[in-house]
Symmetry: none
Subunit: 401 residues, 2 copies
């Protein structure tokens, strides 16, 4: 990867990466054997496809279904196998927590323990979010530090919350307290390596303190912890790729992923319209713009073909506003596929469209899987999209003489 680092050029050019989450699909037998992208009316994307180059991008490796973390890391030009984002970190990002180097992030569940110390409900009856938020507030006021380690608690949905430990000498290599099955006692945390002993003690003490705060609660009288993860070391995007980057996303997890790689991430309430307004307002202030659109993935996960079609059409409708900005490079793609036939993330490659003055064009009839598979860009790894963006933005000098 130093190959690219040594070739970076300063330039005034800009690029927009528009990610329709879970964009790709597979032909659905109950919908005329079409994919959602094929079924959607996308006049603007189709017109753009005629003046662009297409391809299919594999997020991680053949057959690998990625989570949101690796799927986005690859789009940001990082090797998603080399840099892995632990569960706790992703959970923390998902509830909007800021992480610093050395932090250990943990996924927490409220749970119900009987008088014998047996877990009888791992989710404390899925207590409502308001209730768990109130408990988190109580816990936060009582447990601010453990020795020299700061403790940050953030409520999630229902019984879920995030813990961030911040202090010197922390280490993620501690065993989980969550026994994974009801009818067992919580597991005592064990240090899996010598240098994790301090973290183990903090976790043990944390559970004890929490149980004191929660004493008398009918359901949420203890917590189970898992997915301990240190913030991964990631070379910031602006250094790695030489572009100041703005990440525009409405969901905390995607904002968090963008922030994790060093993008600036404004608060953008609302939906795609508000995202595009933000893009328009701040275009010119950054070199690279990541715009994230979630509803395509949600509809795919709901196995709702028609809803995903409508979500794709919503993306299509804003293409003219993006083109009106005249970006030097525009990429439209997904982070991973979410076929409504499957109702979940899948391993299928992402339809990919790249538009720039220098990219070429292939007169494709429509932006869809069937044209992308024949595209000039070929079948590439998602992590190779970013070098292509740089090249088209004239931000890479010649390699060798």
């Amino acid at each position: 990867m130093n190959l690219y680092k040594d070739l970076l050029l300063k330039s005034e050019t800009n690029a927009i990466l528009l990610v329709a989450d879970g964009l790709g699909g597979v032909p659905h037998p109950e919908h005329g054997f079409k994919t959602e992208l094929e079924a959607a009316r996308t006049p603007h994307l189709d017109e753009l496809a005629k003046r662009s180059v297409l391809g299919l991008a594999t997020p991680v490796a053949p057959g690998v279904t990625p989570g949101s973390g690796p799927a986005h890391l690859s789009l940001f030009g990082y090797d998603p196998v080399e840099i892995q984002i632990g569960r706790g970190v992703l959970e923390a990002l998902g509830v909007g927590v800021e992480l610093q180097a050395g932090d250990v992030a943990i996924r927490g569940n409220f749970a119900t323990k009987d008088k014998d110390g047996i877990i009888v409900d791992r989710r404390a009856g899925r207590i409502p979010t308001e209730e768990s938020s109130a408990l988190i507030e109580r816990m936060s006021s009582k447990i601010e530090t453990i020795d020299d380690v700061q403790v940050f608690l953030t409520p999630g949905v229902e019984h879920r919350f995030a813990v961030v430990l911040r202090g010197p000498g922390l280490c993620e290599r501690v065993s989980e307290t969550d026994p994974q099955k009801e009818g067992n006692s919580p597991n005592p945390p064990k240090a899996l390596v010598g240098e994790a002993e301090k973290t183990r003690q903090v976790i043990e003490r944390f559970v004890t303190l929490v149980e004191e705060v929660l004493a008398g609660e009918p359901r949420a009288n203890t917590v189970l912890l898992r997915g301990y993860a240190e913030k991964p070391e990631i070379e910031p995007f602006p250094e790695k790729w030489g572009m100041r980057a703005l990440g525009i996303a409405t969901y905390p997890m995607y904002k968090g992923l963008a922030r994790l790689v060093g993008m600036e991430t404004p608060d953008v309430p609302g939906g795609l319209m508000e995202e595009i307004e933000h893009l328009e307002r701040h275009f010119g202030e950054f070199d690279f713009f990541f715009v994230h659109y979630k509803p395509t993935d949600k509809a795919g996960e709901d196995a709702d073909f028609e809803k995903k079609v409508r979500a794709i059409e919503e993306v299509d409708a804003i293409i003219p506003r993006i083109l009106a900005l005249e970006p030097d490079v525009l990429v439209v793609t997904g982070d991973h596929s979410t076929p409504s036939l499957i109702g979940a993330h899948s391993w299928h490659p992402n339809p990919l469209l790249l538009h720039s003055r220098f990219a070429g064009a292939e007169d494709a009839a429509k932006f869809q899987e069937a044209t992308c598979k024949l595209g000039y860009l070929g079948h590439i790894a998602s992590k190779d999209i970013l070098p292509l963006i740089l090249a088209n933005a004239k931000r890479l000098k010649k390699f060798g003489a």
Copy 2:
């Protein structure tokens, strides 16, 4: 790469690699959104395409624009990131200098220094080539050796020349004397690693000796040195690929690159006709023939669409003579793309055509980017072309049982 080494078979077969430098292009908006290859009348290549397989070949990596060195190394089947050719070596090859293992090659400029030792002109007023050649002759006669190091000087164009140091214990890791900007003194050479101290002393002494020779010259009264580079260690092509190879090129740099990998490189004055005559005359004496054609690249670099079209048509015209030799394998491709839209080398993959009795055929309508992108060979790395040539020449045995 040992994979292939272990599979090499002896055979009587032969192969021709015809490289039209900078062949690939991108659709040009002022020329009907066609590439040069699409616009050119290429009846012979088109007829050949019907009986061949096509593909697109990426020289180095996605988005990377290669110089001539890495672009050719990849065509010769070497990893162009692993084996890098320093600037000084390429410059020396470009003026036709022979290099041996352990040599350090250096790019030199004549320059003008004022009485205070300040560089007032880094190019000595771009003195004419005849003038600088005469100076090089004077310098060569006075500075043949420095201690046990031989010094070889070769004039380039105008103020440019190449220095080759040959002797025991030389090392390229010395800082450049060229201050890069007028108004500064030349930088004293510094050894960047301990083992470069001897080379540093030789360079320092060389500059002193040169200034004695040039004393009194009105413009070219000193020299600036940069791009120090050792000849890279390269496994010779005949050993690596089991084929005696002839490199037919008229430009010194391409002859030099062929010689660097151990091809024989005759002097071929003139153009493509003379190259083909040489090929015809010596066909049968070698197993592998690299034929280099420069005008496609030059026209692309001149941003001259029509001129590049004509250059491509010149290549097309000699195809029947090449086919008349009945080579077992014929590959037609570029080393990198040079779209006239960009007017420079680019990152776009090379159109690739491979013809052999065993390659298959795909009945493509024309040899152009738009058919190559759909080709049977797919989107491959340029360094994988050579194994395909070997396979089609029946020069690779079965791997495993």
